[in-house]
């Protein structure tokens, strides 16, 4: 999917982060962003943070994700 997922950076070592979205945690790289800090919200796509995102926008996207029926089935999918 062309959908990147908003997630919060909860751990960070160099450009390797652990991120959390809706209780799911996974590893993501922050190589494509400058000055990322623990606590920042980022858009994660295919294992990479591609943008910072604010709280309000993140919440809207999480809601949208909940609404897309087959989201669970899209874990390994590509984005545009």
């Amino acid at each position: 999917m062309c959908l990147a997922i908003p997630a919060r950076v909860i751990k960070l070592q160099d450009d390797h982060a652990t991120v959390d979205a809706m209780g799911n945690q996974w590893q993501a790289r922050t190589t494509l962003l400058e000055n990322v800090k623990v606590g920042d919200l980022v858009l994660v796509h295919a294992g990479f943070a591609i943008s910072l995102v604010d709280e309000q926008e993140a919440k809207k996207t999480w809601q949208l994700i909940r609404e897309i029926d087959d989201f669970d089935a899209t874990d390994n999918k590509i984005s545009g």
């Binding site: 062309c2 295919a46 874990d75």
Partner: protein, 356 residues
């Protein structure tokens, strides 16, 4: 909220009335396609306003020739194919897919290009080939991984690269004679990388309104109304309705990394054929990590499977139900064309959600 919906509906109706003809707006992002269907946006549109799902689904636009090459490499004993999940079920010309030839062929689904590189480290006796497809959003992760592979001296890793650039495809569609595209709903997360300014040529050269939108239903509806107002006013413009994450210039760090690793080259697209400077190729410095050069192969265009009209769907020339195979012998359970295989393909969305 209801006010916004009513206002948007009014503008769209006015545009159809004012123009006195049908209006065709193309979305170039699979997530828009899914969101539009999922939220019933089509049911709010005037009859004469047609939304066309263009070449916005990465699996769908990948040419048959690439799929065949990938399957050929997958059959080698000395290789492991690492791929995003969507590619698994796309049929080759011989109707086989990565899914059907697995587990005899060693194929691994990965979440990130980085996982593919880890596979190479774990399997030093094999060459891991990463099936690098997708648009500009997916390209930087591949680039970072290739740079990592070179820096760390990981030799048994390479990418079969078919990363595509969205804007050249839009230009190619508009340069064609048969297109009926009045405007574009531009992709959200591709724009995070390339910046909304990248769509300037579509507005300036081709006089087509372009609006970048996120994926929620209301902003999509407002973007469609914005496009309609521009058509009424006959003043095509480039607007961004997704400024929470999209800037005019995009993610410059990502662009720099892409350009370090890749250069745009002529490439083949399903349905659209050869488009100049539309596909990323690895630069000479990274030739060792280029599967095309490593295995001395070239991508040659191939025809779609017999009876499959995905190419015409991707160009907006037909809607999925116009294809005879749609919902007959081509379904999401038993897909024949890639637009039915991918969850974000136009055929899959039509099949799953129906006309509205």
């Amino acid at each position: 909220m209801f006010e916004i919906i009513e206002e948007s509906k009014n503008t769209m109706h006015q545009a159809c009335k004012h123009l006195g003809r049908g209006i065709n707006i193309m979305e170039v992002c699979g997530t828009h396609t899914v969101s539009i269907f999922r939220h019933g946006i089509r049911s709010l549109l005037p009859e004469k306003l047609r939304l066309i799902s263009g070449p916005g689904c990465p699996v769908c636009v990948t040419d048959q020739g690439y799929i065949d090459l990938l399957l050929k490499l997958a059959r080698r004993d000395d290789c492991i194919i690492a791929t995003y999940g969507d590619m698994m079920r796309v049929p080759g010309s011989d109707r086989q897919s990565l899914e059907t030839i697995s587990p005899k062929a060693d194929i691994r689904i990965v979440y990130s290009a980085e996982n593919a590189l880890e596979l190479a480290i774990e399997n030093p006796e094999k060459t891991v080939i990463f099936a690098a497809v997708g648009f500009e959003t997916t390209t930087p992760p591949t680039a970072v991984t290739v740079l990592d592979a070179k820096r760390r001296g990981i030799e048994n890793f390479c990418v079969l690269c078919a990363h595509k650039l969205v804007v050249p495809a839009m230009e190619a569609l508009l340069a064609g004679k048969n297109h009926k595209i009045d405007a574009f709903l531009c992709p959200g997360h591709v724009s995070v990388i390339i910046g909304y300014g990248a769509f300037t040529p579509i507005v300036e050269k081709f006089q087509r309104p372009c609006v970048v939108a996120g994926f929620e239903p209301l902003p999509i509806l407002e973007a469609l109304a914005d496009i309609c107002q521009q058509l009424i006013d006959e003043q095509p413009a480039l607007n961004c309705a997704y400024k929470a994450v999209v800037t005019k210039d995009g993610n410059k760090t990502a662009q720099k990394i892409i350009n370090t690793c890749f250069e745009p080259a002529d490439g083949y697209w399903r349905g659209l054929g050869k488009i100049p400077k539309s596909t990323y190729h690895l630069r000479d410095e990274y030739a060792h990590w280029d599967a095309f050069r490593r295995f001395d192969i070239v991508e040659e265009p191939k025809a779609d499977l017999a009876g499959c009209r995905c190419g015409e769907v991707l160009c907006g020339l037909i809607d999925p139900p116009d294809c005879k195979m749609f919902a007959e012998n081509c379904t999401t359970q038993h897909p024949i064309g890639p637009c039915m295989v991918s969850s974000e393909g136009a055929c899959a969305a039509w099949y799953k959600y129906g006309k509205h």
